[in-house]
């Protein structure tokens, strides 16, 4: 792309805000009651993070993988790609994330989360809970109808935030490849919303950065463990 410095974020916006939110409205109507399954999966992840039952880490990875694969196919590939040709690539990236979660978290069982009752653990769990219960409220708060709400498990943004929060708790370097797609998605989604002048951009950016913080704190924790 020549003279790339002359492009603004709005230069890459292919659709209007009304088309974007109308897409969510039609998507929500088409997939109902899949949203209930999404919320149930989210609440189950929160319960597993708090309760720490046996094999809970494999189950968390499997549940997240299911959400990422659903969004890859039902949202990006079937819906979003109609108004954004880049969404075909988003679908591929989301499907790769789902496969990575299955391979690393379910099959290999390497999704070892930091211990419960630590500060970062509670922050991460709170962010997951907020992305499930709080993120849909952004629709009415910003003056949009409830039908345009973005729900964990079936919509990309709240699922990515919650995934960053969970995966930032993973111990060891394996967390970084797992975090690549969710973090990049948070950046892309925030940029899209910012280009549309949508205040949700700041919510997404702040939540994404806060969710990533345990990963940085965890790096120090890993280093301390290694020195011992």
């Amino acid at each position: 792309m020549s003279e790339w410095w002359t492009y603004r974020l709005t230069s890459f916006l292919l659709f209007s805000p009304s088309t974007y939110y109308r897409m969510f409205e039609r998507y929500n109507l088409a997939i109902w009651p899949a949203q209930l399954a999404g919320v149930s999966i989210g609440l189950a992840i929160v319960a597993l993070l708090i309760g720490k039952r046996g094999h809970h880490e494999r189950i968390v990875a499997g549940l997240l993988a299911a959400c990422w694969m659903w969004i890859a196919l039902a949202f990006h590939y079937q819906r979003y790609a109609q108004i954004n040709w880049a969404a075909t690539w988003f679908a591929l990236a989301f499907a790769c994330e789902a496969l990575l979660l299955v391979v690393v978290g379910v099959l290999a069982g390497r999704l070892h989360l930091q211990l419960a009752r630590s500060g970062v653990h509670w922050i991460a769990t709170s962010i997951v809970a907020m992305s499930i219960l709080g993120y849909p409220l952004l629709a009415p708060i910003t003056g949009r109808p409830w039908t345009t709400a973005e729900i964990f498990g079936v919509a990309a943004d709240p699922t990515a935030i919650a995934s960053v929060a969970v995966l930032a708790l993973v111990r060891g370097r394996i967390r970084w490849p797992l975090l690549v797609v969710p973090v990049i998605w948070c950046a892309i989604a925030a940029a899209t919303l910012w280009a549309m002048d949508a205040p949700e951009a700041w919510v997404l950016l702040a939540a994404g950065l806060l969710a990533l913080w345990p990963a940085v704190a965890g790096t120090r924790h890993d280093a301390t463990d290694a020195e011992r």
Binding site: T6, L14, F15, S16, T19, R22, Q82, I83, N84, W85
Partner: protein, 312 residues
């Protein structure tokens, strides 16, 4: 334009300038009373074919996917556009579902034979150019495109020979190149001098006037038609102007809104063939199309228009 200086001056001036450019100078009918409702046209210099001075863009506005309600709304916009005398509709494979939506609307409202279809080739692969143009044609549901342009000059080295070959074979009627927001003007100038193109597409409005320096005079000299994109800076210009009252003297050129004010400024430049505002609103397309009727400003009034916009 002052009321004691009628539009004849403007017409004479436009005719003189277009004649000097070797074009069929037919800014018609600049002197006709608005109530006659004869749309203003400009000739395409390479053939003399007359085009209404206001067209219809599709960037963002027509990208609504398979939403039937939104598609029907876009169809209503196209229907009103054609009913108002408009002809040129412009799109690109870059605009996601816009081409499908145009095809849907043209078919549903039976407008296919009444429009001037302008599309683009937008791929870095020269080998895929023809294939992409054919896919676009199928989406539009037209027999052939009137105009195909190289989008943002992307790989013009391979696409222009393809387009010239298609023109030679009667598969397209005109060939063009596009840029937007002031990018790659030097490359565009070079191609305007060296290639037998029929159209260029650039950004021009009372704020973005860089093309007045070189591109527009060169287009007149070389007999190249000019399409103007982003006349309202994606709506930002009209939002800024909305804070100000439309000057009373805008009535001298039959303007009742800022949108008409901006469009009349653009199409009154003698090198401009057609401006292509985009909208999803029937009311707005009606308002835009009213700019293609009635009187146009002379040079003195154009300067006054620039000052009014810059104050806003």
């Amino acid at each position: 334009m002052r009321s004691d200086e009628p539009v004849m001056w403007n017409r004479r001036r436009a005719l003189r300038m277009l004649a000097a450019a070797g074009a069929c100078a037919t800014l018609r009918p600049a002197t006709a009373p608005a109530q006659q409702r004869a749309i203003l046209t400009r000739p395409i210099p390479s053939t003399g074919e007359a085009l209404p001075v206001v067209g219809l863009g599709s960037w963002i506005t027509f990208n609504v996917g398979d939403d039937a309600v939104a598609r029907d709304a876009c169809t209503d916009v196209m229907r009103k556009f054609v009913e108002s005398g408009g002809r040129m509709i412009d799109s690109s494979p870059m605009y996601a579902s816009s081409q499908d939506v145009i095809g849907y609307g043209l078919h549903k409202a039976a407008l296919t034979g009444r429009i001037f279809s302008a599309d683009k080739v937008w791929t870095s692969s020269g080998a895929q150019g023809r294939e992409q143009i054919e896919r676009s044609r199928q989406k539009w549901q037209v027999g052939r495109f009137d105009l195909v342009q190289v989008h943002n000059l992307l790989n013009w080295q391979e696409h222009l020979p393809t387009l010239f070959a298609m023109k030679g074979a009667g598969q397209v009627r005109y060939v063009g190149i596009t840029t937007s927001e002031g990018r790659r003007h030097r490359d565009m100038e070079q191609l305007m001098r060296s290639q037998a193109i029929d159209f260029v597409q650039v950004t021009y409005n009372p704020v973005d006037r860089e093309v007045e320096q070189r591109i527009l005079p060169l287009a007149r000299d070389r007999g190249i038609a000019v399409i103007v994109n982003r006349p309202f800076r994606q709506g930002a210009l009209l939002r800024a102007l909305a804070r100000q009252t439309l000057p009373a003297w805008a009535a001298e050129i039959d303007c009742t809104s800022w949108a008409q004010f901006v469009l009349k400024f653009i199409v009154s430049h003698p090198a401009v063939t057609c401006a292509i505002p985009a909208t999803t609103s029937v009311a707005h397309v009606r308002e835009n199309m009213n700019s293609a009727y009635g009187r146009l400003p002379d040079e003195a009034l154009r300067q006054r228009m620039i000052a009014a916009v810059e104050r806003a």
